[in-house]
């Protein structure tokens, strides 16, 4: 009699605990859904406000005092040029650092300092990079408020991302590959050039894309440098009709970038400018989503395809 009563009590206890399982799983799912909902709302908000404003003129017009005629020509050209400079510095530096730390670095205090530095730099707020650039690039080195200053700043900002991605994909290469190459008489650099770099290139590319997606959206450091918000001209063209055909005047040119243009429009009270901001934001979101999506897809492919 009491045995049966105990059994029902135990069953009730188990059922109660199992119910907690479900409740908790639902809470987790709900928390995840908050993220999903926010993301959807954000994207829909940009799309609804911005898409009506999107047309060819929007892409080919300079910013203007009249919202209906304002466009993002100087902004997207500026973004492309700044990204060019950023990639030019961040990719070689990041990859070289990654190779050095994984393949060359001895275990000593210098290496420790480099590693601690990289971890710390990854956590420095982006606006502090802006202050660094303002004090060092703009005034100390005399680069001024130019595309070069902005590109260098963003390159330093995404350097930790590139380095970490490089190191992780190099670490995934089995030791046997290196030993095989050394056994055939390869020098350390030959092993790196012919084996380590090619095999890790997909992983490095993933890191570079994620880094660039971050750099495209960064606003604070570029504003801190003193990028102008109203630019109604384009930087000098990199390719000319006369010899020497290629000019680098554009790196010293004043500029604006997409997020700054959007910030400028967001801080205006007129509703028409807010619509412009939404349109610019929509393009910006699409670009960063496409880049991040590409990186995630690449990583998925690598994980599935490479079997050492």
């Amino acid at each position: 009699m009491s045995y049966a009563r105990d059994l029902t009590a135990i069953r009730a206890l188990i059922a109660r605990h199992k119910r907690w399982d479900h409740v908790f799983a639902l809470c987790g799912l709900a928390a995840l859904m908050v993220g999903v909902l926010t993301f959807t709302a954000l994207f829909a908000d940009m799309a609804i406000d911005g898409i009506p404003r999107l047309n060819w003129e929007f892409l080919t017009n300079f910013p203007s005092r009249r919202p209906a005629q304002a466009g993002i020509l100087s902004a997207w050209v500026g973004t492309c040029l700044v990204m060019l400079v950023t990639a030019f510095f961040a990719v070689p530096l990041g990859v070289a650092t990654g190779i050095y730390l994984e393949e060359y670095a001895p275990k000593n205090w210098v290496t420790d300092i480099i590693e601690i530095n990289i971890t710390n730099l990854a956590g420095v707020p982006s606006i502090v990079y802006g202050l660094l650039a303002l004090g060092l690039f703009v005034y100390q080195f005399g680069f001024g408020q130019s595309i070069l200053s902005a590109g260098l700043t963003l390159a330093l900002l995404i350097l930790p991302v590139v380095i970490v991605a490089t190191r992780e994909s190099i670490r995934a290469i089995p030791q046997g590959i290196r030993e095989g190459a050394y056994a055939l008489g390869g020098t350390q650099w030959q092993v790196c050039r012919d084996h380590i770099i090619p095999y890790s290139s997909a992983g490095i590319l993933t890191g570079v894309i994620i880094g660039m997606a971050r750099a495209i959206g960064e606003t604070a450091p570029v504003i801190t440098i003193g990028a102008l918000t109203f630019i109604a001209f384009l930087p000098p063209a990199p390719v000319g009709a006369e010899a020497p055909f290629i000019s680098f005047d554009w790196v010293m040119s004043p500029f604006t970038v997409m997020p700054i243009q959007m910030f400028n429009w967001t801080s205006r009270p007129e509703a028409a400018f807010l619509q412009n901001a939404a349109a610019a934001g929509f393009i910006l979101v699409l670009m960063t989503l496409a880049m991040n999506g590409l990186a995630i897809y690449l990583r998925y492919r690598i994980r599935r395809n490479i079997k050492w």
């Binding site: 799983a25 709900a30 993220g35 990289i118 707020p125 982006s126 502090v128 060092l136 997606a213 959206g217």
Partner: protein, 316 residues
């Protein structure tokens, strides 16, 4: 070639041999040169840190020659650009603190729930979709979040509470919290994943349910990792700029009330950078003093976070 590799006969180097030795020597030189180049590339990150410290300290020293440190820490007004200039960093810190607290109140529960769910409850397929999605959410530019806070969240909040001003710390903080969620969730989840399976198996063998295992075994075992996720989240919130510059207004305001507009350290730097302050003026130097405060705070957070993170890595 007839020569045996590694030939160590005592014959003096003939013509061919000398050429090979010279080749080998040049190869060694080239290898060393490449190693040096790679080392210099790696040192760039050290130079960057040194550059940050140099710039911030140099301009701050100049600033503190005009403004006593005591005033900087105790004054309750921040009016650096007025004739009657006051430099009380507390005013900006209050904005930073309030918005960060709101952000953490959102990010910590959401991030922890998501992490526990993904690590202990979610089926494989959900995890495969959710993790890249969270990564996408973390990749959205902050200026977009700022726009979203100002023109989507604030109107919704005003619907519940009509007196809410258009610029306020609450909506900025909420959006900032959502921005940090992926960050907190992914670090916490890493920490929980690092807990060895045998601990869970032991718990299940004792008859514990999933919920009991998650809360009483996995979370305590991963606690240092989860704490580091929180601390790194705080450092993110404190350093966040654009959301606050757009949605919280740029008026310095000594308040802990999230319903008011207020400037943060980061928003102040943006505001000054947007204006046209001459290089070398006290106004110009204030942003470096503010930046130094910010840097010291986030550095402390990051160091603490990484030490905790290392602790959980070493345990297992």
């Amino acid at each position: 070639m007839a020569a045996v590799p590694g030939d160590i006969s005592v014959t003096p180097p003939s013509g061919a041999m000398a050429a090979r030795l010279a080749h080998r020597r040049s190869r060694i030189v080239r290898e060393k040169a490449i190693e040096l180049v790679l080392f210099l590339a790696a040192m760039v990150s050290v130079f960057t840190t040194a550059g940050i410290v140099y710039v911030l300290v140099k301009e701050s020293v100049a600033f503190f020659q005009h403004v006593p440190l005591l005033d900087f820490l105790t004054d309750t007004q921040w009016t650096p650009l007025f004739d009657d200039a006051h430099f009380g960093i507390v005013v900006l810190l209050s904005g930073t603190l309030t918005s960060s607290l709101v952000a953490l109140a959102i990010a910590i529960p959401l991030g922890t729930f998501i992490a526990i769910y993904l690590s202990e409850f979610a089926p494989f397929s959900v995890r495969e979709v959710a993790k890249p999605f969270l990564e996408l959410l973390g990749g959205v530019p902050t200026i977009i979040y700022g726009y979203f806070a100002l023109l989507f969240i604030t109107p919704i909040l005003q619907w519940f509470y009509p007196e809410l001003p258009g610029f306020n710390l609450l909506s900025a903080g909420i959006v900032m919290g959502i921005m940090i969620v992926p960050y907190v969730a992914s670090i916490s989840e890493d920490a929980m994943r690092a807990v060895p399976m045998s601990l869970r198996e032991g718990s299940y063998a004792m008859g514990a349910t999933r919920y009991q295992t998650a809360i009483k075994v996995v979370v305590p075992a991963a606690f240092s990792g989860i704490a580091s996720a929180y601390i790194l989240g705080i450092s993110r919130a404190v350093g966040e700029t654009m959301i606050l510059a757009v949605a919280a207004g740029m008026q310095p305001n000594l308040t802990l009330n999230p319903l008011e507009p207020a400037a943060t350290i980061t928003a102040y730097i943006v505001q000054v950078a947007l204006g046209d302050l001459p290089h070398g003026s006290v106004g110009y130097q204030t942003i470096f003093a503010a930046g130094l405060t910010l840097m010291l705070f986030t550095l402390a957070c990051n160091v603490a976070g990484h030490m905790l993170r290392k602790a959980f890595r070493e345990t297992y």
